[in-house]
């Protein structure tokens, strides 16, 4: 049985016709199911837990990356397969999974190619794609309790499970340290190459200053924090043109 969860944003006038086309295509493909639309009165966690209680084998998220990120912590602990139907503009996660926007995603769902992916975990919150720490001084990273990385200049930090540098099936995450761009006169900028370290467990410290750790533009925790990989945690339906093996 399928449960479809529609993000509040996708449930607006702007996407009304696209959502209707998706619903028709799901009926044609004979994979329609219970449709839950997110509102202020219905929390995402509650809907997912209800779906699990009702023996839904597949939970499909209809919306943007924000919905996928918000659902991850609850879905990671549930024994369900996850599908995504991207609607709206911010859909990098679906793109990397090889899932096209709108009705094309229904065909991907119907083909049902699944992959088991790693997730990242920061404190008790899971993430699928990446975390971001803005530039700060005195940033140190302790990797796998074996070695310590110190940024010599103010640098931004990306912690990626799923990006150009990272494969979500390799059993580790990657931390990317990017030195801040220095701007000179006449508009010239100097760049220094980013550093990349694969790791399983990482502690980020930033001296006496606390830096925000952000996901999808929102601060979810502050430094110091520990980030670790949760290997093979999520079963997800992917497209043929996914960006990983």
């Amino acid at each position: 049985m399928y449960t479809y969860i529609v993000e509040a944003l996708a449930n607006t006038k702007k996407y009304e016709s696209e959502l209707a086309r998706v619903e028709s295509r799901l009926i044609e493909l004979e994979i329609s199911g219970r449709i839950e639309k997110l509102t202020i009165l219905k929390s995402l966690k509650e809907i997912i837990n209800d779906a699990v209680r009702n023996h839904s084998e597949t939970v499909v998220l209809i919306g943007s990356d924000k919905l996928v990120n918000d659902a991850m912590s609850t879905l990671a602990e549930a024994d369900v397969t996850i599908g995504i139907i991207p609607i709206g503009e911010s859909n990098a996660i679906a793109g990397a999974l090889g899932i096209p926007n709108g009705t094309g995603a229904c065909d991907v769902l119907s083909a049902r190619i699944t992959a088991t992916l790693d997730l990242g975990k920061v404190n008790n919150r899971y993430f699928l794609s990446k975390l971001y720490v803005p530039a700060g001084s005195n940033v140190t990273l302790e990797c796998d309790s074996k070695f310590q990385v110190s940024a010599l200049t103010p640098s931004t930090i990306d912690i990626a499970n799923f990006s150009e540098e990272s494969n979500p099936r390799d059993g580790h995450l990657d931390v990317v340290v990017r030195p801040e761009v220095r701007k000179h006169f006449f508009g010239r900028s100097s760049y220094s190459r980013a550093s990349i370290f694969p790791f399983r467990k990482l502690t980020i410290r930033s001296g006496s200053d606390s830096l925000p750790i952000m996901s999808d533009g929102e601060t979810i925790i502050k430094t110091p924090a520990t980030v670790e990989v949760a290997p093979k945690k999520l079963k997800v339906i992917v497209g043929k043109h996914r960006k990983f093996v």
């Binding site: 074996k146 070695f147 310590q148 990385v149 110190s150 940024a151 010599l152 200049t153 640098s155 540098e165 990272s166 494969n167 390799d170 580790h172 990657d174 340290v177 030195p179 220094s192 190459r193 980013a194 550093s195 990349i196 370290f197 694969p198």
Partner: protein, 122 residues
């Protein structure tokens, strides 16, 4: 030496890049190729290849398959494949390798032992 892409990027999952703007201290065990452009102190071990760029400073014992050295290295080097000392390389330490190439201008201070291919345990 075609161990790495011509643009210096490694581009493969599991590879490590220690950029010029970071310093690494401790026992580093890599699961892929390792490129050092910054500073490393401690030990460095990988079953794959290590490239130390010009300007990089490594104070560590290094064990790897192939090593291409263009920067400074203080420590012993154990290589199961090829060791290449580029023209800007400065190596102070003992070397154990199956194959050695020393370009004109490179500095090597230490004992050199040629082996029939030492297996690296990483």
């Amino acid at each position: 030496m075609a161990m790495f892409k011509s643009d210096g990027s490694t581009g493969k999952s599991g590879d490590t890049v220690i950029g010029a703007a970071v310093k690494v201290e401790g026992n580093f065990v890599g699961e892929g190729n390792v490129t050092v452009e910054g500073q490393l102190q401690g030990t460095l071990k990988t079953k794959h290849n290590v490239m130390v760029s010009s300007g990089a400073i490594v104070k560590a014992n290094v064990e790897a398959q192939d090593v291409h050295l263009a920067g400074e290295l203080q420590g012993n080097v154990k290589v199961s494949g090829k060791l290449v000392l580029a023209t800007t390389a400065k190596l102070n330490g003992n070397v154990e390798t199956a194959s050695l190439t020393v370009e004109e201008g490179a500095t090597l201070n230490g004992k050199c032992t040629m082996t029939a291919g030492t297996k690296v345990e990483a």
